[in-house]
């Protein structure tokens, strides 16, 4: 189901400026008289702050101020950033202070802000700020945090549990009691860093004529940021504006409101100078939120044919030092693990554990990759034990096409029932297997083995909850010069959001992409908004854009029919004119229609419509729509060195109606690259004192071009979602979700002659060598 623009790989609106070096990222914005900030950050994972001596720093020429909490507090309504999403599961409050002044709980926590003429001078001075610390024992590993008598990550906390809850349904005890087989295993997926190529950044300026404080931040959630800042600074809504400029990648952590934003905005208000802070890469490693550290102890009960009867266990989730978002990552894991499969009974005990590490909030995938890793590993284990083909055991347990819509007993964090709304999971798996040559692979594997080479094939299924509601507003307005202006609370961080919105609008209003301007992520352009996260913007903002564009179209046709004295049904919009269908007859420019409905004093508006050729819509969709896919990965493993080479990736997926094939493929391939990194390379190390030990890109390895497999083979299945007019399901995170599972499956297959069992990622060469030599996987945190 394609339109002339929707469904086509049209040129992106974003490209030209980006390619010519004319885009405007936050650090590209500058004003005369800007002062620059360098933060003094904690050197300790856990310590009391006994004092901060600013004397030497303030003596440096060009330094204007060294701000600590004592300087900020009189101007703030609250010392803390209370941004946590609601949940009954919390066991203690762990809000971040705007600046730490009594206790620091992770390396990198901001303590003071040096403000100077240049960043160079600010950093000179920051090095001279003397913080008097009294170090305290630190919690590095969330398992240690649970031990009796363990030190507290926060000195005065009653315990190290941030939140706890359980999830489940059905009678697990009965299911396990009657099971032919029960398999038990522990799994671990390691912590990673988002590593958007652009770090975070913020510049704020007070406009004295209007008294409006404007903050440009590389945030995924400008409207939420504005709400927090209005509260903290006590500014009226019309005296504060937050703008997301061009953003060099988000991947999750930029959805969080950060202390630096509060400090910079307040400093601009205090000093009357524009204030800028740009995060450097080392700061990104120690202050931008991270994700994925989870330990799962799981049991699966199956019958003799490998049908799953029950799944139960416990999840220890490393929450980091503060609650910067909520219980959502762990909740997302727990609610994702069963999804592709019919699991009659399920129980999970979930604990979110406080550690002295950077706070944990969603990174692309948001808990789902870990859950898929665990589920798929358990299925591989059961298949191995029962001597059933790994794909076959999945086929026996997948939710079938006939069962869709499949009402699971699970609820989303907001209490909505999880209903798998569309898709055909077995068909998707079958498509991937066929393309990958699954059936015949054992012959290739045996032939390779005969030559001493170890190749393996792995498979993983996922179902991704997308399109988090309840709404994302979009306004569409035809200006009096005929130009179409689109504004949305959706925020663009590199995923082609502006192009997506323009496509949906253009389809209804003349099909001319060049006639459309999109503002995404500016609180001055539209009142409400949620922003970019949870693979939601095409679903939510796309639906609103469609509804708004349809309204404007109807109005344009109605008014034009009065202006042209022709029936509405006979008219169409083509380019910038409304004309008789086919173009052979009277026509009127959209600009003229817009002028006509702008009104003239004392005259009727043609067609008796409301003034203005515009509409704002916020389509409400509470239920999430569930995308799905199957990934097959082929690897070769050097059994002498432990080197894993990914030689092929086949990815079959269903994200419903595809708005722009190249953008969808780009999202998937990018996600796959991220997931391969999580599987093989990305390791955010902390020592036993919770000191980070990988704080450069030379130590924390991202996928580079030479590690990527040959072109990824993507198969599109298209089951439109019934939950929105356009039939869209989100796709932004899908690529990353099954990758650690698929790679582990493939590596285990390649090393089957050694009987290796893989229970954690990333898979480093030394780990694999140890496994090959029969050693258990070494603890590394």
């Amino acid at each position: 189901m394609s339109g002339r623009i929707v469904g086509q790989s049209v040129e992106r609106l974003e490209d030209r400026a980006l390619l010519r070096g004319e885009a405007r990222f936050v650090d590209d914005i500058s004003f005369p008289g800007t002062w620059h900030v360098a933060f003094v950050r904690s050197a300790h994972a856990h310590a009391l702050i006994l004092g901060v001596d600013k004397t030497a720093a303030l003596e440096i020429p060009g330094v204007h101020a060294v701000l600590t909490m004592a300087d900020l507090e009189p101007h703030l309504s609250d010392r803390l950033l209370r941004v946590a999403l609601p949940s009954p599961a919390y066991r203690q409050e762990l809000h971040r202070p705007v600046l730490a002044d009594t206790e620091v709980v992770h390396v990198g926590e901001p303590i003071a802000a040096v403000i100077a003429d240049s960043r160079y001078i600010a950093e000179d001075a920051a090095a001279l700020v003397v913080v008097d610390y009294d170090p305290l024992p630190a919690i590095s590993d969330c398992r240690d945090a649970m031990a009796p008598g363990a030190p507290r990550a926060h000195k005065n906390a009653p315990h190290n549990i941030a939140a706890e809850f359980d999830m489940g349904y059905g009678d697990c005890d009965a299911a396990f009691a009657k099971a032919a087989h029960v398999f038990r295993e522990s799994y671990w997926q390691h912590r990673g860093v988002a590593q958007s190529m652009e770090c975070r950044g913020v510049i704020a300026a007070l406009e004295p004529m209007s008294d409006v404080l404007t903050m440009w931040s590389s945030t995924q959630t400008p409207h939420a940021g504005k709400r927090v800042l209005c509260g903290l600074l006590g500014r009226d809504e019309d005296k504060l504006r937050v703008i997301t400029p061009d953003v060099g990648g988000g991947f999750g952590p930029k959805l969080v409101f950060y202390p630096e934003e509060a400090v910079v905005a307040l400093a601009a208000q205090l000093f009357g100078h524009p204030i800028k802070w740009i995060e450097d890469r080392r700061e990104h490693f120690v202050s931008t939120t991270q994700e994925r550290d989870q330990h799962w102890d799981m049991e699966i009960a199956v019958d003799a044919q490998g049908r799953v009867l029950g799944l139960r266990g416990a999840l220890l989730h490393d929450h980091g030092a503060y609650t910067a978002r909520g219980v959502n990552v762990a909740y997302g894991s727990a609610a994702a693990i069963t999804l592709p499969y019919v699991i009659p009974a399920y129980f999970l005990d979930i604990k979110l554990v406080v550690t002295n590490k950077v706070s944990v909030t969603p990174i692309r995938g948001a808990g789902q990759p870990q859950a898929v890793f665990v589920m798929e590993r358990l299925l591989d284990r059961a298949a191995r034990e029962l001597k059933i083909d790994r794909a076959e055991i999945r086929r026996r347990n997948l939710v079938s096409g006939a069962q869709i819509p499949y009402k699971t007993p699970l609820k989303t964090r907001g209490g909505m029932q999880v209903v798998l709304d569309s898709g055909d999971y077995p068909a998707c798996q079958a498509a991937a297997l066929e393309r990958a040559g699954w059936e015949a692979f054992h012959t290739r594997k045996a032939a390779a083995l005969a030559k001493g080479r170890h190749i393996g094939l792995g498979v993983a299924n996922y179902v991704e909850g997308t399109g988090r509601g309840p709404f994302e507003p979009v306004s569409v307005r035809v200006a009096e010069n005929g130009r179409i202006h689109v504004a949305s609370g959706a925020a663009a961080m590199g995923q082609s959001t502006k192009t997506m919105l323009a496509q949906v609008v253009a389809e209804q209003l003349g099909c001319d992409m060049s006639n459309i301007t999109v503002v995404a992520g500016d609180t001055g352009a539209i009142e409400l908004g949620m922003g970019g996260f949870n693979s939601r913007q095409a679903v939510m903002a796309g639906s609103s854009a469609h509804a708004a564009a349809l309204k404007v179209r109807q109005k344009a046709l109605h008014v034009a029919s009065h202006m042209l004295q022709v029936g509405e049904q006979a008219l169409e919009i083509e380019g910038n004119v409304v004309r008789l269908k086919g173009g052979d007859g009277p026509q009127v420019e959209l600009a003229e229609v817009a002028k006509a409905v702008a009104g003239l004093p004392g005259y009727y508006i043609p067609g008796n419509v409301e003034p203005g050729l515009q509409a704002t819509e916020h389509v409400i969709i509470n239920d999430m729509t569930y995308a799905n896919g199957t990934c097959v990965v082929e690897v070769k493993v050097d059994a002498d060195t432990g080197l894993v080479t990914v030689s092929r990736v086949v990815f079959a997926h269903d994200c419903g109606r595809v708005l722009h094939p190249k953008i969808v493929e780009g999202q998937i391939i990018g996600g796959i690259a991220h997931g391969l990194g999580n599987a093989l390379f990305e390791w955010m190390g902390f020592d036993e004192n919770a000191q980070p030990v990988s704080t450069t890109l030379a130590e924390y390895l991202l996928m580079s071009s030479t590690e990527m497999p040959p072109p990824i083979e993507i198969l599109h299945l298209e089951s439109p979602s019934p939950l929105n007019e356009l039939g869209i399901k989100g796709v932004g995170e899908s690529g990353v979700i099954p990758m650690t599972a698929a790679v582990a499956s493939a590596v285990e297959d390649a090393l089957s002659p050694f009987g290796v069992s893989i229970t954690k990622v990333p898979l480093s060469p030394p780990d694999l060598i140890a496994l090959i030599h029969g050693a258990s996987q070494e603890k590394r945190s």
Binding site: S9, E11, R12, E14, D15, R16, L18, L19, R20, G21, E22, A23, R24, F25, D27, D28, S30, I60, P61, Y120, D124, Q195, S196, M197, E198, C199, D246, V247, G248, G249, F251, D280, R281, M493, G494, Q495, S496, K662, I663, E665, G666, I669, G670, I672, A673, H674, T696, L697, A698, L702, M703, S704, S705, T706, M708, P711, I712
Partner: protein
Amino acid sequence: MESVAETRTIDLKVNGKAYSRPVPVRMMLSDFLRHELKLTGTHVGCEHGVCGACTILFDGRSARSCLMLAVQANGHEITTVEGLASGAEMHPLQTALSEHHGLQCGFCTPGMLTTLVELLNDNPSPTAEDVRIAISGNLCRCTGYEGIVAATLEAAGRMRASAGERS
């Protein structure tokens, strides 16, 4: 703190235009280009020479502008991403990157482009493997590199064809 305030006047050409500017001796070349000359197309991703976003052409060779001092550019010629298009007409690499979805957020793109311009100057007929090796020091978190490789091969073909027409 005397030494950090010391300045030197440097003369250099950037994108064909001559500049003579006093600069603090410790200023990085990337900061000079971005904040003094306002050529903000060159991006700074890591400031330790790994990500490649800040790559420029220094006398025609790719170089990390975050690892060089501005004073080292005295007497040299620099090309940044702003210097690749001829007016409204984009470089074949720029056009091909757009066509092949070789950019998403676009933050790494300037460094990719300058690196690839150097590659195609050195080797007008690269293989996909050549391209992958050439950009192995340029990190991209969005694209998985596929579109960039495809775009480069396409641009190389078009550049060879137009060079053939000219000769």
